[in-house]
């Protein structure tokens, strides 16, 4: 299959071998599980249970609200002991509404919806509804509700479902292990999703540094027979950020997704391998998304592992299972080292979008004080989005947000290639994260002041109308008397 080059990108040290050869193990059931009502992009779910209530494994405990949202299910059986504001796995360290379940150790399943017997004969709507009811979100990290993405076939003509097995972040090996160990489930889930999207082809793209996963997936794909979408499994070059949705579509199909548009606009929808596996579980067994595979790695981890953890497991329980720290970590990260977020507390739960927990040593982090920009242009060369990081950062330093928006900062996907390559160690991506946040805040303020303006005009108009009516009445009354 012909591949297409993607612009920019870097070749960091991958360090995947720390965990890549460790088979997926299952975490012993933690005593308490913290299930946040919002683990996804969109609106938080509405809780359906009360404190003191017993819940069973897989039971719906919070229902998604609105179009873009996702439901939450009990990861095990137990008692709801608290519904309150608990620290979120978020770089702000702020709290968010969370359901706390004390496990009773029985791990007793609730009654699950029946399997969809022949998914390829079922309507796309039925598959979408099942995925929605199962609380599935994108497991590559962005955690966008998958059912919403499966509805793209209703409005767009799609020909390809691209399954993202690139896993281009250093250290992370959870997708690699899932493909090696559960290739059948991933490919079945992928074909079901393609059916829901009305796409005829499934292409699974895996970076060439995962030969075992490639072989395992290709072996299963070769055995696919009968009705339903076809499956091809292809290797793609090792180049960060190959796993970015838009870049993977470009590399595999040669189609470039315009800024502010979706890959669906060029006929392709992208889903992660973990998501495909979750869809398989939901459709074939009626099981909601209540667990995921997480990579625990970094030189400061005593025993790097790939672990299947119940959603809501505190990070500390997972670290204990990996025998804790070998040395004092200089940095704790949730997700990959390039796009992950700092982990501020070990009490926060692992959620549907958590792909990794990394404990990095000082040598691995290699943090150095920033110095002057020498205008070498390295950041311009590596930017996969064709932006000019050094210029954008210079504007942001001077708070010129309008100018930096015109330069396209909102097209930055925060891959961190510019920060990685910068010889002066300028935290470029931090500038862009700030600018994107500040621009979003400005837009929110703009909407609010528009609302205020409209409402105050309406208020004014009403007062004038009332005054006019009163005057008319007075005038009328006077006339009668005379």
């Amino acid at each position: 299959m012909k591949l297409f080059p993607i612009p920019g990108g870097i070749h960091p040290e991958y360090r995947k071998t720390l965990a890549s050869e460790v088979a997926i193990s299952t975490l012993p059931l933690p005593e308490r599980l913290h299930v946040p009502l919002q683990q996804h992009i969109g609106a938080a779910a509405d809780p359906l249970v009360g404190v003191g209530e017993r819940v069973r494994k897989g039971q719906l405990i919070a229902r998604g609200r609105g179009v873009v949202s996702a439901s939450q299910h009990a990861p095990t059986s137990g008692i709801v002991v608290e519904i309150g504001e608990l620290t979120a796995p978020h770089p702000s360290g702020l709290a968010q509404p969370t359901i706390v379940i004390e496990a009773d150790g029985q791990d007793e399943w609730a009654e699950l919806p029946p399997p969809i017997e022949d998914p390829f004969a079922a309507s796309p709507r039925a598959i979408q509804e099942r995925v929605d009811a199962s609380g599935i979100v994108g497991m590559g990290g962005a955690a966008f509700p998958s059912a919403v993405k499966l509805e793209l076939g209703n409005r767009h003509a799609l020909d390809i479902l691209l399954i993202n097995g690139a896993e281009c972040e250093p250290y992370l090996t959870c997708d690699d292990r899932v493909m090696r160990e559960h290739a059948t489930e991933v490919i079945d889930g992928a074909r079901i999703m393609a059916h829901a999207l009305r796409a005829e082809r499934v292409i699974v793209a895996i970076e060439d540094n995962k030969p075992q996963a490639l072989a395992a997936m290709q072996a299963v794909a070769a055995k696919v027979v009968g009705d339903g979408p076809s499956v091809e499994v292809i290797g793609v070059p090792v180049q960060y950020p190959m796993g970015s949705e838009r870049h993977l579509v470009l590399a595999v199909t040669g189609r470039e997704t315009p800024a502010k548009k979706l890959t669906a606009d060029v006929g392709v929808v992208v889903h992660n391998v973990g998501t495909a596996r979750a869809v398989h579980h939901a459709v074939r067994f009626g099981r909601p998304l209540i667990a995921r595979v997480v990579t625990v790695s970094g030189a400061a981890i005593r025993q790097p592992k790939n672990v299947e953890v119940p959603i809501g497991t505190p990070v500390s329980a997972l670290l204990d299972f990996c025998s804790g720290f070998a040395s004092e970590p200089a940095s704790l990260v949730l997700g990959g080292p390039m796009m992950g977020q700092p982990l501020l507390s070990l009490d926060v739960p692992l959620v549907k979008g958590s792909s990794g927990v990394l404990a990095l040593t000082r040598e691995e982090v290699n943090e150095q004080p920033a110095s002057t920009c020498i205008r070498c242009g390295s950041c311009v060369e590596v930017c996969p989005c064709g932006l000019v990081p050094l210029e954008m950062a210079a504007y942001i330093r001077k708070d010129k947000l309008k100018e930096v928006a015109a330069l396209g900062v909102t097209d930055c996907m925060s891959c961190g290639s510019c920060s990685w390559v910068c010889p002066s160690h300028i935290p470029l991506v931090h500038y862009f994260n700030y600018a994107k946040g500040a621009l979003a805040a400005e837009a929110r303020e703009q909407r609010k002041s528009e609302l205020v303006r409209v409402r105050s005009e309406a208020h004014q108009a009403r007062l004038e109308k009332i005054a006019a009516e009163r005057a008319a009445k007075r005038g009328g009354a006077g006339g009668n008397a005379a």
Partner: protein, 186 residues
């Protein structure tokens, strides 16, 4: 020679006449900048500038009778934009960005007099006579008008706290010796 002088004179007379007529018939009644300034102001009629509403403030600004720093809810952004529009230099160092606040009514102290309801220019307060009143935080724009009207001092301002949905990364500290950091001091 006479032809040249004649034609140029004729052109001058005709074009002059056209311009004169245009000035007469297309005369601009109102200072156009006034409308533009009105558009730049928040339009919430909060009255914090001392004028009755934004239109009156815009008129004063257009005549140069009010400082560009007059609008508290507009903050630095509006002051800067006004200064640019009016071509004036102003000391903006004292202009603070408005704090994100909303009004809250203490249930125990509210007597249901409806004074605040009537004062609210965006109808963000709900309630009825002799019933407790409440503020809808999403609609309140923090003008504080209601506070002054309350006979029982039941209203106070609450700062809007960041949530996970609104939080964003702060601006990085300027790196030591960064290319332009030495020139950023105003």
């Amino acid at each position: 020679m006479m032809m040249d002088v004649g034609s140029l004179t004729a052109m001058g007379v005709v074009l002059g006449g056209v311009l004169g007529a245009a000035a007469h018939f297309l005369k601009v009644e109102e200072n156009p900048i006034e409308a533009e300034i009105k558009e730049m102001l928040p339009g919430s009629q909060c009255g914090q500038c001392g004028f009755v509403g934004c239109a009156q403030a815009a008129a004063a600004l257009a005549k140069g009778e009010a400082p560009v720093t007059l609008c508290p809810p507009g903050g630095r952004a509006v002051a800067e934009a006004l200064a640019k529009k009016l071509g004036v230099t102003a000391d903006l160092s004292a202009v603070e960005d408005p704090r994100d606040e909303y009004a809250e009514i203490a249930e125990s102290a509210c007597i249901g007099c409806t004074k605040c309801l009537q004062a609210c220019s965006v109808d963000a307060i709900v309630g009825a006579a002799k019933q407790m009143h409440g503020v809808i935080p999403e609609l309140c724009h923090g003008c504080r008008k209601c506070i002054e009207t309350c006979p029982t001092n039941a209203i106070h301002m609450v700062e809007v706290e960041p949530t996970i949905a609104t939080w964003h990364w702060p601006k990085p500290d300027g790196e030591a010796g960064a290319a332009d950091s030495t020139h950023t001091h105003h």
